[in-house]
Symmetry: C2
Subunit: 347 residues, 2 copies
DNA sequence: GTGAAAGCGCTAACAA
DNA sequence: TTGTTAGCGCTTTCAC
C-alpha cells in the first residue's frame, strides 16, 4: 500500500505538503509546480488514502451505520440496504450494516457502531410507524427510514401513505368500481392509518359515502382468509384496496374459489406485492410497490447532507452517476409511490 | 470516549501495561494485582477499544467486506446480508456492504473495501453458479456464497442443489405421482443442472424411466406460461418440481385455469417460494426455501475462521448466542435444504 | 514486571 | 510557500 510518505520522498517534499495537496487545500499554500508534481506522482503510484488513518485525526470515518430490525422481513431490508449502499458509494461513504433483535441488543449494536466511528446513522423500520429514537442516537446525525418520530425532531424518509391509499382508490373508482373495499392490517401504525385515510378521502371526494362494512382489518393465515371470505359474502365488493401483498392474496384466493377473475369481475390494487406477483403472474393485479431501494438511497443521501452540513442539492455527486431519479412508474399495472422527506427541527 | 491513556493515569501505570492487560496478554508479564486493578478501572469507566486505532498497528480491522450484485434480486441479498451480519456480530466483526453493477465497478468497490482494510471478503451471487474470482480478491481471505469457483481453490458455501431436486422428486413420488414434470430455467447454471440431476436420479432410483417430454426449461412471463400450458396438454403431469417460485406459479396459474386443485389433483414442489406464498396462501404447495440467511451466516463464520486461522468448531462464539443450528425444517409443507461447505485447496 | 519510545498513516498547528 | 513538530489511540519492541 502506497503512503504519503513515499510520495513525499519521491517528490522531495514533506508529508504535510503532500497531505495539503492531496486534500485540495493547497491553493495559495503550495506552489502549483510542486502541487502538480505531487499529484502526478500520487496518481502514478496509484495512491489511495487510508481513511482509517485520517479518521484518527479528523474524527470522520466516512462510514455510515445502518440499523435494521432483523425480523423475518428480509426482503424489505435488502432493498433499503442496497439503496443506501448506492448513495453512500456515490458520495464516498461506506455502509456498515447491523441488525438487532430487541432493544437491549440494539443499544449494544449502536455502541459497537460508535466504536467504529460511524459518522451518522440510518435507522430503518420495516413498516412506517412512529418510533422513539434510541437515546444513544440522539446526539449524532440520524435519519429515520420508513418511520418518523413523534416530535418531528428527527429527519426521516417515509412513503407517502396517504397518497398510496388515495391513488389506489382513485384507480379503482376510475375502473368503475361501485363497492370498493379496504382490506387492512390490524395494527394501527402510520402505514395503516395513512392508507385508510387516503381511501376514505378519495371516496369522499368522489361523492361516495363510506360503507363501513366494506372496511376490514385482518391478521394472517386462516382467520384472515375467513374474514375476507366473509367480506365477499357480506358486502360483495367489486373493488379492493389491500394493505399489502398478503391481504391482496386472500382476495385473490377468495376470488379464485368463486370463479371470479381479477381485472374482469373484480379489480384489485395491492400494496407492496412481491415482484413475482406483479410482473409475471397476475398482470391484472395493480400494485403499489413500496420504493424501498429509493427510500434507502435518499435516506443515506440525506444523512450525508446532514453530516457534511450542506443541502441535498449541492452534494458532490459523481459525474458518472447522476442522483437517482424519483420513482416514476405509474403504469396501468403499477401506482407510483412518492416519498416524503422530513427535516429535523433542531439545527 | 475513554482511552487507554485515562485508564493508565487512574491506575498509575503506563499505557503499555494497560494494553497488555486489556488484550489478555498479561500472563506472567503483569502482576495480577495490577492487572485486576486495570480491568476494574476499565470496566468501571466503560472502556471500549477503538478498533480503528489498533488496526493502524495490527493491520486487522475486524471488518468484513460483503460484495453482492445489485440486480433486482434484492430479497435474496437481504437474507444473506442479515445472516452474515449475525455471524459477524457474534464473532466480533463488522460487516461493510457493497454492491456492484458490472465487473468494472466491481473492481473499484473491491479497491474501496481494501482501503478500509477489511480483513476478508464475502462474494455473493444470487443463484448458484461457477464464478471466476476477481483478481483483486485472490490474495485475501475469501468465501464465495451461492457460488463456487471452477478450480476448487476458494472456500465456498452453496446449497446442496442435487438434493433439492432429489428430495423434491422423492416427495412427489411418495405422494403417489405417476408423471412428474421438471419445470426448469433456461440458463444451465449450477443450480439448474444440480436440481435436474437430482430429479433424474430420484426417478431412476425409483425404477421410473425419465420421460423427456416431462422436462421443460422455460424463461419468464407469457412465453413461459404458454410453455407450461403446453406441458399440461402434452404430458398431463400429476406432479411438478419447479426450479423456482416464478416457475411454480406458472403451474399454479395453469392449474387454476383448468380447475385443478394443488394438493388434490396435482402435487407441486417449488424451490424458493416467497414466504407469502408458502406460509399463508397456498399451503398445499410444498416449498424448498433456500436458506439465504444461513448461507450468509455460515459464509461469514467461515471467513472469520479463515482470517483467524482456526477451525469453525473452536471459534469464539459468545455464550449468549450459540451458533445457528443447521436448518432443519422438513415439514410436510417444506423440504429442508442443506448447505455444502467447501474449503479452499490452497492453505 | 513494567515503562519509555517508536511508529502505524495521516492531519493540523506553528515555525521558518 | 514549505517543513517541523506533535499527536489521534493503540501495539510492540526493548531496556530497565
Amino acid at each position: 500500500m502506497v503512503t504519503m510518505k513515499e510520495i513525499a520522498k519521491q517528490a522531495g517534499v514533506s508529508v504535510s505538503t503532500v497531505s495539503l495537496v492531496l486534500n485540495n487545500r493547497d491553493e495559495g499554500r503550495v506552489r502549483d509546480i510542486v502541487a502538480n508534481e505531487v499529484r502526478d506522482i500520487a496518481s502514478q503510484l496509484g495512491y489511495r488514502s487510508n481513511p482509517l488513518a485520517s479518521s484518527l485525526r479528523t474524527g470522520r470515518t466516512h462510514m455510515l451505520g445502518f440499523i435494521s430490525e432483523d425480523v423475518a422481513t428480509t426482503p424489505y431490508a435488502g432493498g433499503m440496504i442496497l439503496g443506501a449502499q448506492r448513495a453512500a458509494q456515490q458520495l464516498g461513504y461506506m455502509l456498515i450494516v447491523v441488525s438487532t433483535d430487541g432493544p437491549r441488543n440494539e443499544a449494544e449494536e449502536i455502541a459497537a457502531l460508535k466504536r467504529y466511528g460511524t459518522d451518522g446513522f440510518l435507522y430503518a423500520k420495516m413498516s412506517n410507524r412512529i418510533v422513539t429514537v434510541p437515546e444513544a442516537l440522539k446526539d449524532t446525525p440520524l435519519v429515520l427510514m420508513d418511520a418518523t418520530d413523534g416530535t418531528g425532531e428527527t429527519a426521516s424518509i417515509e412513503p407517502d401513505e396517504f397518497h398510496i391509499g388515495y391513488d389506489a382508490t382513485k384507480r379503482l373508482l376510475a375502473a368503475g368500481c361501485e363497492r370498493i373495499a379496504y382490506v387492512g392490517a390490524e395494527s394501527p401504525i402510520v402505514a395503516e392509518r395513512g392508507r385508510m385515510e387516503g381511501y376514505r378521502t378519495a371516496l369522499a371526494e368522489a361523492g361516495r359515502s363510506v360503507n363501513e362494512r366494506l372496511i376490514v382489518h385482518v391478521g394472517n393465515n386462516e382467520p384472515a382468509l375467513a374474514a375476507v371470505n366473509e367480506l365477499f359474502d357480506a358486502a360483495q365488493p367489486d373493488g379492493f384496496f389491500c394493505f399489502n401483498d398478503a391481504r391482496a392474496w386472500y382476495v385473490y384466493e377468495c376470488a379464485a374459489r368463486r370463479g371470479l377473475t381479477i381485472g374482469r369481475d373484480i379489480s384489485v390494487v395491492g400494496v407492496d406485492n412481491h415482484r413475482v406477483f406483479a410482473d409475471t403472474l397476475v398482470p391484472q393485479l395493480t400494485t403499489v410497490e413500496l420504493p424501498h431501494f429509493e427510500m434507502g438511497y435518499w435516506a443515506a443521501a440525506k444523512l450525508v447532507s446532514i453530516i457534511e452540513e450542506r443541502s441535498l442539492a449541492d452534494m458532490d455527486w459523481p459525474d458518472t452517476a447522476a442522483p437517482l431519479p424519483p420513482m416514476n412508474t405509474s403504469t396501468p399495472a403499477a401506482i407510483h409511490c412518492a416519498l416524503i422527506e422530513k427535516d429535523s427541527v433542531r439545527k
